[in-house]
Every structure is written in C-alpha cells, then in structure tokens.
C-alpha cells in the first residue's frame, strides 16, 4: 500500500482543477447531480437523518421499558416502534451511510474521476427518500405502521397484519432497487476505472471490502424482494407460500428471509472492516499487518455468510443433522473474523500510536465488535442457543456488532475523512468528548442487556416481570445518554460544513496512506480527470 504515490506533476495538475470547478448551484445541484462527491454527501446526510428518526423510535421503546407496567404506549404501537426502528436503522441509516462513504471515497481511492455509472448513481440515491416516506407514512394510517418486527415473519406479516403491509412491501422493493443499482455501480467502477498500476493487490482494503459487499448485495437483495413479494401475494392475492392450509410453510419464509438476512449483516460489517483497516495503520504509523490475509478473510466471511442462515432458526424444529451443520459452519466464521482482529492488533504492535478521535472510535470498534463476536460464538452453540434465542442476549449481541461495530466504524470514518471533505479540521476536543460520552453510554445501554437476556427476558415485549426492572431502568438511561451524545457529533459536523476550524492540509494525518491524501483539502469537485501514476 505504500506505493500509492502521485508523481509531482500529477499533484499540481489537480491543483489546477481546483480553480475551475463547474458546479450548478441551488437545489438543482443536488437534484440533478451526477457527481460522486455530491451523491456521497447526500447519502451521508440522509443516513444521519434516518439515524435520528430510528433513534427516536428507540427512545420510545426505552421510555416504555424504563419501568414495568404499561405507561406510555399501547403494545400494538410498541410493536410498530420495534419494527420501524429495525427497518430504519438497517436500511435507512447503516446501509446508506456505507454507500455514501463508497461514493465519496472509492473513486478517489482507485484514482478514478467519478463512479462508472453517474446517472444511475443519482437515481439510486433519490429513490431512497421516496421509499422511506412511503414506509414512514404508514404511521399515520388506520392500524398504524407494520408491527410484525423488522424480520416480518409470516403469517404474522400476512394473514394477521394490517394494510400497511402493502406500503412496507413497496418501500422495500424501492430500496432494494436502490441497493442493487448502487452495488452494480461499485462493481463496475472498481473493475473498470482503476488508475493504471492500481492492480488488485494494491487496492486499499476499504475498496476490497466494498467490492465483496457489492457482490453480497447483488446476490441477496433480489431474495429480499422475492420474500416481500410473496408476503404481498399471500396477503392480497390468495397465494399460500407461507400458509400451511394452502400447502405452504411458514418456516419457509424464515429460510428465504435469513438467506437474505445473514449476508445482509455482513453487508453492514465488511465495509466497517475496511474502514478500520485504513484507520489503524494511519494512526499506528505502520503498514497494515497481513494485507493479503485480510482480503482472504473477507472473502471467506462472505462465502460462509451464505451457509449459516439457519442459525437464526434453531428453535423452529429441524433435523439434528441440519442443526449440527449450521452450528459448525457458524462457529467457523470465528476463524476469519479472528484473523482480522489479530491482524489489527499486530498492526498496532510496535507502531507509533496517537489517539485522535478516528483512532479512538476504531479502537473501541475492535474491542466492542469482538465482544459482539464472542456472544455470536456463544449463540452458535445450539443447545445454549435454545436458551438465548429471542431474548435480550440476542439484542445485546447484534447491537454490539451493529452499533459499536458498524456505527462506530462509520463515525470513525467521518472523523477520519471529514477534513478531506470540508477542508477544515473538526474540533478535536469535542470529538474526544463525543467519543467518551458515546463509549460510556453505549455500554450502559447494551451491556446489561446480556444479563436480562440470560435471566430470561424475551425481546420485543412492552412489559416485563419485576426481576428485570433495575437493569431495564439502567439500559433506558444509557439509551437516552447515548442519543444525547450524538448531538455533539451533529454539532461537530455542522461546524466543519460551515468551514469553522483550522484549515486542513493535503496530508491531514501524518501516517495516512492512499490517493485521497494526495489531493487538496477540501477535495476539488472533480478529481483525477487524468489518472494518477501509481508506482
């Protein structure tokens, strides 16, 4: 990776472009834009908005669960909140945020002038606001929003659901189209637009992980579209895919859903691995340890993600042979994931570390994501899984990998690249404050969930037995604090967008490597119109 350097004349060439950036102004700039940086910005801002909307739903859940008894919301509305919280956070916050980063950084990292299919790029973003408007509009209809959980198991989501189901299905179709177009764009860009000399084993890991993620998206988003379509026809057109009375099978829904669902969780974590693999070497001032094994580990995880889906369904009743197969294949994922963690630690070993905000979030990612990995390993043990399944232990597990995993990596990435995007350094003191507030509150929020889950509290219940009361109060307080801490983040980002701060240099971070640190800060509207020379 140390070879990604520009020759001197290439750098000055890009400086020239800085002076004649042609861009439209006003709202049409954003509506019609085909510029990867603009579209990346749109994706990132959209996902931030969704993060707060999904967060508000989470706060409703935590407020109701602050004490035993029903205080604030009816159980039916509570179920709508858990459902929308999951859907918004997965499809509205985490996935678009990674696509935003891909848009901003992939072309720059491979020395390309833009994404390969810019008009499609515009479309894949602008579908999203419509999709989520449709989904959120269901809150205002009779019967309310979907309430069958973000996993919408049939027949609860078919025969027993309200008419919001049709809206939900259409919204999922739209965001599926958006994701597929985004994935195609990423693949075509990486295959075709790499600068001369940027061969496969020189690609930054963020590019590698996104390439693999894009293939996962292509493979499973159509499966999700098929699932929701079958839900639609079962509910409205008399088919019986998931209805035993008509020859169907409710458990088949779960097979199809989780065949999408398990690769989906890697879609949300592989790019995070790429981000951490960029940040840790930068702040350890030492090359990434085991680059090739990182690529292989990522590919192995992606492959394994297709043969583990039934570990979400151990209690549905399946042959012992199937239980054993899926237990072993799931345990196997710990191996490549372990390799990644060991490589990051080895990268830090005998480095020269500093601890700016991006590094702090990346370090927290390594520790807390690994804790989520440990609980994942525990969940793979089928006999123990019978006790963990559908309890708060599972909730704790996937929030450790998704919040302190995926979301922390996203926050780290924003701090890392924000100076490049805006041209000013973020406020380091506020960044550190944001980090420490988030770190403490997020553990207050999710760690006790392990205990209440083990003690027997099921997930998705609006009221609970008294022995869970104290920990739930603590979890709710942690949740509120975590939500408030993110306001610091918004403030820091707005400050940078308004160009309030110290001007950033081209290099920004002393130990950072890669083409993005060879272009000026802020990055010019057009970069690499002539490809850089990669040595």
């Amino acid at each position: 990776m140390s070879t990604n350097e520009l020759s001197a004349n290439e750098t000055s060439h890009d400086h020239d472009h800085d002076h004649h950036d042609h861009k439209p102004t006003g709202i049409t700039r954003w509506l019609y834009t085909t510029n990867h940086k603009d579209i990346g910005t749109l994706y990132l801002l959209f996902s931030l908005l969704m993060f707060f909307i999904g967060g508000i739903f989470a706060m409703v859940i935590r407020a109701e669960l602050f004490q035993p008894g029903l205080q604030l919301v009816e159980p039916h509305f509570f179920n709508q909140m858990t459902t929308l919280h999951g859907l918004i956070m997965v499809f509205g916050a985490v996935m678009p945020a990674f696509v935003g980063l891909a848009n901003w950084m992939l072309p720059i990292m491979i020395g390309a002038p833009d994404m390969a299919l810019p008009r499609m790029n515009n479309w894949s973003f602008w579908i999203l606001p419509f999709s989520f408007s449709i989904l959120l509009s269901t809150l205002f209809m009779d019967g309310g929003a979907p309430a069958a959980g973000w996993t919408f198991y049939a027949p609860l989501s078919t025969t027993y659901s309200g008419d919001s189901t049709a809206f939900f299905v259409f919204a999922v179709h739209l965001l599926g189209i958006s994701s597929i177009m985004g994935a195609i764009n990423v693949i075509v860009t990486i295959f075709n637009l790499r600068a001369p000399g940027m061969n496969w084993m020189k690609l930054p890991l963020f590019v590698w992980t996104w390439l693999i993620t894009a293939f996962l998206l292509l493979a499973v988003m159509p499966v999700l579209a098929g699932t929701v379509t079958m839900v639609l026809t079962d509910k409205y057109f008399g088919t019986s895919f998931f209805d035993a009375a008509g020859g169907g099978d409710p458990v088949m829904f779960q097979h199809i859903f989780w065949f999408f669902g398990h690769p989906e969780v890697y879609i949300m974590i592989l790019p995070a691995f790429g981000i951490v693999s960029s940040i840790v070497p930068a702040f350890a001032r030492k090359p990434l340890f085991g680059y090739e094994s990182m690529v292989w580990a990522t590919s192995s995880i992606a492959f394994l993600s297709f043969i583990v889906w039934m570990h979400h369904m151990f209690t549905t009743g399946m042959p012992v042979a199937a239980e054993l197969f899926f237990m072993y294949s799931t345990m196997l994922i710990a191996v490549p994931t372990g390799v990644k963690v060991f490589n990051w630690v080895a990268t830090m070993w005998r480095g020269s570390m500093t601890f700016e905000t991006p590094m702090m979030f990346a370090l927290a990612f390594i520790v807390l994501f690994t804790i989520g990995g440990f609980s994942g390993l525990m969940l793979a043990i089928v006999p123990a899984d019978f006790q963990y399944q559908d309890t708060y232990f599972v909730v704790a597990h996937f929030h450790y990998v998704l919040v302190t995993g995926a979301v922390f990596s996203l926050v780290a990435a924003v701090y890392y690249w924000l100076p490049k995007w805006t041209g000013v350094m973020y406020d380091e003191r506020l960044g550190q404050l944001h980090f420490w507030c988030s770190l403490v509150s997020v553990n207050l929020l999710f760690f006790p969930m392990h205990f209440v889950g083990l003690a027997g509290m099921p997930r998705r219940i609006p009221d609970y037995a008294l022995q869970f009361a104290d920990f739930n109060a603590l979890i709710s307080i942690g949740g509120m604090l975590f939500g408030l801490s993110q306001l610091i983040f918004v403030y820091v980002v707005i400050k940078c967008i308004r160009r309030k701060g110290v001007k950033a240099t081209t290099q920004v971070w002393e130990g950072a490597e890669g083409l993005e640190w060879t272009i000026p800060s802020p990055a010019p509207y057009h970069t690499f119109e002539t490809p850089p020379q990669i040595k």
Binding site: P68, Y153, Y160, P250, G290, L332, R350, P383, F386
Partner: protein
C-alpha cells in the same frame, strides 16, 4: 424493587462486570446469569454456556491485553519509532490453527448434548401444546384432559393502578401439570401465528408453528413450579403470554388427572341442568368473560383498534345480525385473528358474552342469549 435483589449486590455485580472478572461464585449466586434449571439437560446446557463464556473471557484477556499493552507502550508520545514489518505467514497460520482447535474442543460436548436433547423417543406421557393469540392450550394425549391457560395478572397491575404481585406477568389461571421422574414429550403447534414455548428451567424453547408439529421432551426430578413465556413475537399481546408448569409427584399427578376428569363431568352436567339466567347474571358473566377473552383485541370499550381489530360498539354484527354474531363467536372467521371460541368457553359463557356485546356500550339491543340458544347454534356445525 429492592425486594428482588439488594442494591449492594447489584452494584457489586456491576463493578465486577466492569472489571471483567468472571467469578464463578458470583455468576451462580446472581439472578443475572442463565438459570441452571432443574433437569439433567438444563444443567448440561448451563455448563456449555459457562465453558464457552470462560473460553471467550480467556481469549479476550490475551487479545485485549496485547492490544492495551501496545497502546500504552507503543505510543508516539513515548517516542516509539514504528517498525515496518507487515506480515508473517507463520503468525497467520498460528492464529488460524489455534481458534480451529478451540472450536473443535467446544463442538464436541455441544454435539453430544444436542443429540440427547433431540431424542424424544421412549416417552412416558405426551402433551399437545397449542399456541394461539395470546394463550396456550394443553391437551394430554394419554388422558381425557385438555384446557386453556391464560395470563392471570389483573389488568390493574399492568396499567399501574394496583401494586404488582410477586409473579407479575408470570402467572396463569390454570398451570400445566406434569409428573416428576417421567419422560414427558411435548408436541408443539399453533392455531394462528408462530409462537415459541419457553421454560428456561427445562432449557426448552421450541416454536409452535401453524400447520406443523414440533417435538421436545423433559424429565423433571423434583416437584416445583416453573415459569416461562412465549418467546416469538406473535402480535399485540406477545408480552402477555406466560407459561407456568407445575411438576407433581407421580401419585399426586394421577390424583390431579382424576380430579380434572371429575370436574369436567360435573361442569357439563351443571351446564345442562342450568336454568336460564337473568339479564343481570348474563351481563355480569358476560363482562367478566369479555374482559378476559375479547378485550385484548376489541378493547374494553368495544371500539377495537381502527385498521387492525374491528369495533363491536355500534357494529351491524353486534346490533342486528344475531345468527352471524353467534356464528362468528362460536366458529371464528378463517383468515383473520378472530378465533373460534366454541371450544374455548362453556355454552353459558358464550351466551353471556354475546348478550354482553349486544347490550354494552350503547348497543342496547335488549337481546338475551341463553346457553340453549348457543347449544342450538353449535349443534349443526358439529354434525
């Protein structure tokens, strides 16, 4: 809340967790770990859980230990100069091989326990467990005994109008009774959506899927009362679907079965001999039945939830069309959440609840439905 665990214990636990000290004694003494349960299987499951937990702790200590050591010693502010090594095949092989070995060691006992758990052959007694929104039905296939088991926690406690009892949300009107020392096989199914029957003390969690039957077994050695609840999101009142299992000595169990058979016969005889009820009696029984069985969906005020559960107040069904009203309550409505109550309630309860629905909330039809009317409406359907 202090009643359930002292504050000091709570703080101590929190401190220990923060320090990452996996002390066995604390883990067992605390009510915040997985239960050990009361069966051989549940003990095995608990042991598996603790073994894998300790393995994870050990790996965490090593990996995070090295990482924090590097963070302290290999920092720029200490003048650390970065090394430039960036790979080692030997290390990669080592840290691929060691996890594989740990996983194999872990998989062996897990496989053994799993095979044992899934062997429900040679059982002494079989009980069919049927979930429906939001109650459990138990049918003893070896005895003429079957009944529904519903949440017994009063609404007032849930709505914070009364102090919550010791077994808040973990209490039912009629617990499932099983004999000790016998291998009891459970068959699981559902009448509507997917539910999941979970009793942590037996380490049993199995989905009840409509149209399919799952099986699982347990053998409880000592008498006791064990509590659990539905574990799969099954709609609005998913959180209010508890399970209570009472294990009795074999002789006590036989006596209990005999008493159930006797009580059933007496109830049937009493029902047939019962005189028509007055409007007051019908309304009183009807209100009680309505609030226990119907209000979860149609709401106490009869207004339902728009777009989800239809209103009864002022509806055509409950004010005009009596035969249709009788039919839907007795036989349910296919493809909707409306269940058939014909085999869930006695004829007098059915009569009372229909009378109540036709006269409450200003429906004021003046219709009185008696047990014999219900019996008449039921007969043709059964033949």
């Amino acid at each position: 809340m202090k009643r359930y665990f002292g504050n000091r214990n709570f703080i101590l636990w929190l401190l220990l967790c923060c320090c990452g000290l996996p002390l066995n004694a604390v883990a067992e003494a605390s009510s915040f770990n997985m239960t050990k349960g009361v069966t051989t299987i549940s003990h095995d499951v608990y042991d598996l859980h603790m073994i894998i937990f300790y393995i994870c702790c050990a790996i965490a200590v090593v990996v995070f230990g090295l990482m924090f050591w590097a963070m302290v010693h290999h920092r720029k502010s200490r003048g650390a100069v970065p090394a430039q090594f960036h790979g080692s095949t030997k290390m990669e092989i080592l840290w691929t091989a060691i996890p594989v070995i740990i996983l194999i060691v872990m998989a062996i006992p897990a496989t053994k326990t799993l095979i044992e758990m899934e062997d429900s052959s040679k059982s002494d007694l079989t009980i069919l467990v049927t979930g429906s929104q939001w109650k459990w039905h138990y049918k003893y296939l070896d005895h003429p005994v079957e009944f529904y088991s519903l949440l017994a926690t009063p609404r007032d406690q849930i709505e914070n109008k009364a102090a919550k009892g010791e077994h808040y949300l973990y209490e039912v009107d009629r617990p499932l009774v099983i004999p000790t020392g016998k291998k009891v096989r459970f068959l699981m199914t559902s009448d509507d959506v997917i539910h999941s029957w979970w009793v942590p003390d037996f380490a049993i969690k199995k989905d009840a899927t409509p149209g399919f039957i799952n099986e699982i077994w347990t053998r409880v050695d000592k008498p006791g009362v064990f509590r659990g609840q539905c574990a799969e999101l099954c709609g609005k009142d998913h959180g209010f679907m508890p399970i209570v299992v009472e294990a009795k000595e074999s002789a006590d169990f036989d006596a209990w079965i005999a008493a159930q058979v006797e009580a059933k016969a007496q109830a049937t005889a009493a029902e047939q001999a019962a005189a028509p009820m007055t409007k007051e009696e019908l309304m009183a029984l009807g209100q009680k039945t309505y609030e226990a069985r119907c209000a979860a969906c149609h709401q106490v005020n009869g207004e339902g939830l728009p777009g989800v559960f239809p209103a009864l107040k002022g509806s055509v069904m409950a004010t005009k069309d009596l035969p249709a009203h009788l039919d839907i309550v007795i036989a349910g409505k296919a493809g909707t959440a409306m269940q058939a109550f014909g085999n869930q309630l006695s004829t007098s309860e059915l009569a009372a609840v229909i009378t109540y629905e036709r006269n409450a909330w200003g429906n004021d039809t003046g219709d009185l439905v008696q047990a014999k009317d219900v019996a008449a409406a039921t007969k043709p359907a059964q033949e």
